[in-house]
């Protein structure tokens, strides 16, 4: 049980923000200026915009629609070049029951008139939704995205196992967890297939890795399986590819795999439990997938340090490396580095992370939420793994 913001479509947010979404690179600056001038707003910008084709076009549509529909977002202001581009997104968002206002540069004619229109629309929306109250909600409404980045030898030893135990605790209490980064789980896909609830899901997880390897070959990268673990990995103690992948998979806990979704597809927690989303490996692209999929909170373990968070999903930063934890005391929400000294068990570390998760769900701010440094990046197929 937690206290969250109910939305018309039945989803529940842990925050009550207005999203300012720029649909094209040419309006990113205007969208940024709107966000800077209205409290209670968060910014998502775009690159490459409307000229994307094929798979990337579809991914971008899902990413933007998905992020607009994130339960933490009460309403959105879309900013773009012209009416057709805002309408393309506004229609489906409004049909899904979410407030949406549009700013089309070519309709108002100037930078400052576009900024003004956006400020007025955003301010009215923030004011309207400031009346929304938190109410008692079941944990089954929560989706927790688990992320790791800036990994080092502590990641597979302290940080990820602790995060995985927190994931299990949440799922035991009825919530859901999403794992991502297809390239990182290469080597463990057969184990995930064995953990799948049915053959359909098992086939999907194996296919997700196969698709990623095929894309990498088409991109001119030699067989990525053969060069993993790398010489550095082996020097560091990783013996097999499965071991390397399992160090990453460990952060998602031990529950059966309920489903596999594509990048930025909605994660529908029916039933609640463990899900996988196929995403590129870089953190901001992966977290954008989580936010678009409907995750309200992200748990991000870092060994060496990594500053990012997602603008629409409060991101709990965790480290299991004592040096990183001591230097990053104002970035990191949870320090589980005492696992490496024996003063904390992995289970105790997991319990700490889970308690932080519940606190954040109920309103506690994460450090990175407070700094305005969040970054959303929509991944591009075939460009990064």
């Amino acid at each position: 049980m937690f206290f969250g913001y109910p939305r018309p479509n039945g989803s529940v947010g842990v925050r009550n923000r207005v999203g300012i979404i720029s649909l094209m690179d040419n309006t990113n600056g205007i969208a940024r200026k709107i966000t800077e001038n209205v409290r209670g707003t968060d910014l998502v910008t775009d690159l490459f915009g409307r000229k994307m084709i094929g798979r990337n076009h579809d991914m971008r549509l899902r990413a933007i629609h998905g992020m607009a529909m994130n339960p933490n977002i009460a309403g959105v202001v879309l900013v773009s070049l012209h009416k057709p581009s805002v309408d393309a997104f506004a229609g489906p968002i409004a049909a899904a029951g979410k407030d949406v206002e549009c700013v089309a540069y070519q309709e108002v004619g100037s930078t400052f008139r576009a900024i003004e229109k956006g400020i007025v629309a955003a301010a009215k929306m923030v004011r309207k939704f400031s009346a929304t109250q938190r109410s008692e909600q079941p944990l089954s409404k929560l989706i927790f995205g688990v992320e790791c980045g800036g990994s080092d030898f502590s990641s597979g030893l302290s940080g990820n196992p602790a995060l995985g135990h927190a994931a299990d605790l949440l799922m035991d209490a009825g919530g859901s967890v999403v794992l991502s980064e297809t390239a990182e789980i290469m080597g463990a896909e057969h184990l995930l297939a064995e953990r799948s609830v049915n053959k359909d899901v098992a086939a999907k997880i194996v296919q997700a890795i196969a698709d990623m390897e095929e894309m990498s070959r088409m991109g001119g990268v030699d067989d990525i399986r053969k060069t993993n673990p790398s010489a550095d990995n082996i020097n560091g103690g990783l013996t097999t590819l499965a071991e390397k992948a399992l160090g990453a998979v460990k952060k998602a806990g031990t529950k059966p795999l309920q489903g596999v979704v594509d990048y930025c597809e909605p994660v529908i927690p029916e039933p609640p439990g463990f899900y996988f989303m196929s995403t590129p490996a870089p953190a901001c692209e992966s977290m954008t997938g989580f936010a678009a999929g409907g995750a309200q909170i992200i748990g991000f373990n870092t060994g060496l340090g990594q500053p990012s968070s997602h603008p629409f999903a409060p991101t709990i930063k965790i480290s299991g490396n004592p040096l990183t934890a001591s230097r990053g005391f104002d970035d990191l929400d949870v320090d589980v580095s005492d696992i490496l000294t024996g003063e904390m068990s992995i289970e105790e570390g997991g319990q700490r992370i889970y308690e932080e998760f519940l606190a954040v769900a109920n309103g506690r701010y994460t450090f990175t939420e407070l700094y305005g440094t969040a970054q959303s990046t929509i991944g591009v197929a075939g460009a990064s793994f």
Binding site: F153, G156, L157, S158, P161, A188, L191, I234, G236, G237, T239, T240, L241, A242, E243, L246, G247, V249, K250, T254, P322, L323, A325, S326, R327, S337, I339, L340, T341, G342, S345, I346, E347, E348
Partner: protein
């Protein structure tokens, strides 16, 4: 309280961690000399294993005998198979493990 800012001092008195109950290897927190008695943690309990090889930081040490062909277990999962008999306290790595 161990000095957290000394990177080489990771672990302090603790030498290695078994991550999941049932694993037959522990991961070393710092370089362990051959013949040293390694203090190993599982959950909240400690036990000792004598290292029979030098085991570098981040590498694995067998906490039980692992017969040739037997699964090497870490994270509660099979990460590979022993390609030769491995004794308790042996370094476990590419020289005695296959996919």
């Amino acid at each position: 309280m161990p000095d957290k800012t000394t990177h080489s001092n990771l672990g302090g008195a603790l030498d290695a961690i078994v991550i999941t109950e049932g694993d037959n290897v522990a991961v070393c927190l710092h370089d362990i000399e051959s013949g040293a008695e390694a203090s190993i943690r599982l959950g909240k309990d400690n036990f000792a294993v004598t290292a029979t090889n030098p085991v570098p930081r981040g590498h694995k040490l067998a906490v039980r005998d692992i017969a040739e062909g037997e699964s090497v277990l870490k994270y509660g999962e099979v990460i590979g198979k022993a390609s030769q008999n491995i004794g308790t306290g042996n370094h476990v790595h590419v020289h005695n493990v296959v996919d």
